[in-house]
């Protein structure tokens, strides 16, 4: 058994094979994406690695400008990376053309943040849910089967048959988001990228939609990439968590490892800044205060990109890019990786 507290300066490459010897459902390696040119070049993603197995949920956390939405677009094949690879079951979607590309698109779907803006107001729930079949004609070819499938999808997301002919304005926010989920499910995808799927919803309704998503995962085995700024939601839904800062993955690991023992100071600060429900625990005592705001992605700091706000930063952080420090996950699952010169150890006290 390796020592669980081992740290190494070099990251072992991400596993290229799943535990069963097959390639993982989704594997992203070294994905970099920049926009603009010359001095006005914005680095949205910088060498991002991630991996997703069948039926897994990967939580993607970070503040605005961290690159999580650009990453979602890359995963959906909407944005071609400048460097790095994206593989679904070993296949590069960016190399596909024509029918093959169309067939691949079925496998990766999206649920959007705002159920008020993402549904066409002139279409009924049934039309919205069945619309993907207009492009992917062979999924459910005949009209009668489509009607039946729409009823199944409505029931899967907890809507009634009678809802099929109602229009978006007749639904509440939570119900609209259910339609958005049913629509994403219409093509039987392997992966659904959920971009802040519950942020626009009221708390009491948010819990309903989270329950629908978890239930679908266990019933259909669909995998999620779950993007959210809400840490309590990510903690609840994800198997593994990836934390991003200014286009880079700065920490990754099993949900329990990352939340219970964050190693990167940014992750720790993010968690300490989120207010908690417990009135007897004052946020002020445990909060790690960060200076300032996220730097501009046009002008990323040298060395460690978090150093301008990091309470632990030293000279070395400006001079050298931080190494990936790795240790085995507590649950024997994924390695727990952080990109830091001075990672937090168990029980590290602040300041």
């Amino acid at each position: 058994m390796p020592d669980p507290s081992r740290t190494t300066a070099a990251a072992p490459g991400p596993r290229t094979q799943g535990p069963d010897g097959h390639p993982p459902l989704l594997e992203v390696r070294g994905v970099t994406k920049t926009f603009g040119s010359g001095r006005r070049r914005l680095t949205a993603l910088d060498g991002v690695d991630l991996r997703l197995g069948r039926g897994e949920t990967l939580g993607l956390v970070g503040e605005s400008g961290c690159g999580k939405s650009t990453l979602a677009r890359v995963l959906l094949g909407l944005e071609r990376p400048d460097a790095g690879t994206v593989r679904y079951d070993g296949v590069d979607p960016f190399a596909l053309r024509g029918k093959e590309l169309l067939a691949w698109r079925r496998r990766v779907q999206m649920v959007f943040q705002d159920p008020f803006a993402s549904l066409n107001a002139r279409m009924s729930a049934a039309e919205l849910i069945g619309e993907p079949w207009r492009t992917h004609r062979d999924v459910v070819p005949d009209a009668r089967a489509r009607e039946k499938r729409i009823r199944e999808l409505l029931s899967l997301v907890g809507l009634r048959d009678s809802d099929a002919h109602r229009h978006p304005n007749e639904f509440s926010g939570g119900q609209r988001q259910r339609i958005g989920i049913a629509r994403a499910l219409a093509l039987d995808p392997d992966v659904i990228v959920c971009d802040e799927p519950v942020s626009a919803l009221d708390l009491s309704v948010q819990a309903q939609v989270l329950n629908v998503l978890s239930e679908l995962r266990s019933r259909l085995g669909v995998a999620y990439v779950f993007i959210s700024h809400d840490l309590s939601v990510v903690r609840y839904i994800s198997d593994r968590v990836t934390v991003m800062y200014l286009g880079k993955v700065i920490e990754h690991g099993a949900t329990e490892d990352v939340f219970e023992q964050p190693r990167h100071p940014y992750t720790a600060a993010l968690m300490s800044a989120a207010p908690v429900l417990d009135t007897s625990r004052s946020g002020e005592d445990r909060e790690i205060r960060l200076q300032g705001e996220i730097p501009s992605p046009f002008d990323i700091p040298s060395g460690c990109r978090f150093r301008t706000r990091c309470p632990r930063a030293e000279d070395r952080c400006a001079a050298e890019a931080p190494p990936a420090v790795v240790r085995d996950g507590a649950g024997g699952g994924d390695a727990h990786t952080a990109l830091c010169h001075f990672p937090l150890e168990a029980g590290t006290a602040w300041a």
Binding site: E63, A207, L210, P275, T279
Partner: protein, 334 residues
């Protein structure tokens, strides 16, 4: 100025009594706020907690007199410094805006004038209420910008709102709101649009300013954790009515209204992964279809016949708490 002096600390700085607001819509008039009462003393923070459409923002806008023309206050009183602002003329009310009551909005970009340098906007209250010259007002603005943590305030005073980040814009708005040391500061979802780490900075700034200036703060929010961390007392609203109120710690540890309980249970914070969250079924009623009995009946797990027939009144329980539920004792025991 003819306004009476600031109230002593034992008197509420703001008291809202039986406030009702009607809203004209294409399909008729609906009651958006129905008999809301609360009060807050200087130095204390009261949270108005509720989901979208519960009437919390409408309540705040009524207090500062900024209601949309489609909405009308039909009953109630808003007392500050011994006067009912609802019975004042527009001119009298304007004199209160700044030195007595002020508000910080959620969306700082729309709340600031896009075509005026921020220094001039922040200085404006001093020119209007204190008659300072443009130059003196600008000096005051720079002092305030320093206080709220804007780096290089003298240069930045000449910048326009779009040249600031979201967090900095919220600081500017706060600077303007506290410029004249109001008795009462109303903050309407002041950090909702901000990132978590910036949100923490803004909440800390608000708290420091509150202590320094001994203000009463009314915090309007849908975020239970923000209430838990920041407020002394909480007023929980649902479908235009107050369903529960009391000290935050008491209400959050032993809620006496099933809606409050449902909200607290919906927070996934300590939920076990993979286990279904105890969600409140359904969604809040449309304002045009609020049922006659209890407003929460359609979603309540303990609803019975009496709840359909009779609307529960907000009953005090003698310990600074009250709840509008026929069967709140059952929750207390649970």
């Amino acid at each position: 100025m003819t306004t009476t002096p600031a109230p002593p600390a034992t008197e509420p700085a703001l008291a809202v009594e039986g406030l009702c607001v009607d809203l004209s819509t294409v399909s008729g008039t609906v009651r958006a706020v129905d008999g809301v009462s609360f009060s807050v003393r200087r130095g204390r923070t009261l949270a108005l907690l509720g989901e979208s459409g519960c009437g919390k923002s409408m309540t705040a806008l009524s207090v500062v007199g900024l209601l949309d023309p489609a909405a009308e206050v039909t009953a109630g009183a808003v007392r500050v410094r011994g006067q009912d602002t609802l019975r004042m003329s527009a001119a009298e009310r304007r004199k209160l805006a700044g030195p007595v009551l002020s508000i910080v909005f959620q969306d700082a970009l729309t709340a600031l004038n896009p075509v005026q340098p921020v220094g001039r906007q922040i200085g404006e209250p001093f020119r209007i209420h204190r008659g300072l010259s443009r130059r003196q007002a600008e000096e005051k603005a720079i002092e305030l910008m320093t206080r709220v943590g804007i780096p290089e305030p003298r240069q930045r005073a000449k910048s326009y709102p779009h040249q600031f980040s979201g967090g900095m814009r919220q600081r500017l708005l706060i600077a303007m709101a506290v410029a004249l040391d109001p008795d009462v500061l109303i903050a309407d979802e002041p950090t909702t649009a901000l990132d978590v780490t910036v949100q923490a900075q803004i909440m800390r700034l608000l708290r420091d300013l509150q202590h320094e200036r001994d203000m009463a703060v009314v915090l309007i929010t849908h975020d239970l954790a923000v209430v838990a961390q920041r407020a002394d007392d909480v007023v929980v609203m649902y479908a235009g009515t107050v369903v529960e109120q009391g000290p935050v710690h008491d209400v959050f540890t032993s809620p006496r209204h099933p809606y409050t309980r449902g909200l607290l249970d919906s927070v996934p914070e300590d939920a076990e992964r993979g286990r279904p969250l105890p969600a409140v079924p359904g969604s809040p009623p449309e304002l045009s279809a609020v049922p006659p009995g209890c407003v929460f009946q359609a979603r309540c797990p303990m609803v019975r016949e009496r709840c359909v027939r009779e609307r529960p009144s907000l009953r005090g329980t003698g310990d600074g708490r009250s709840a509008a539920c026929h069967f709140s004792e059952e929750l207390d025991r649970a």
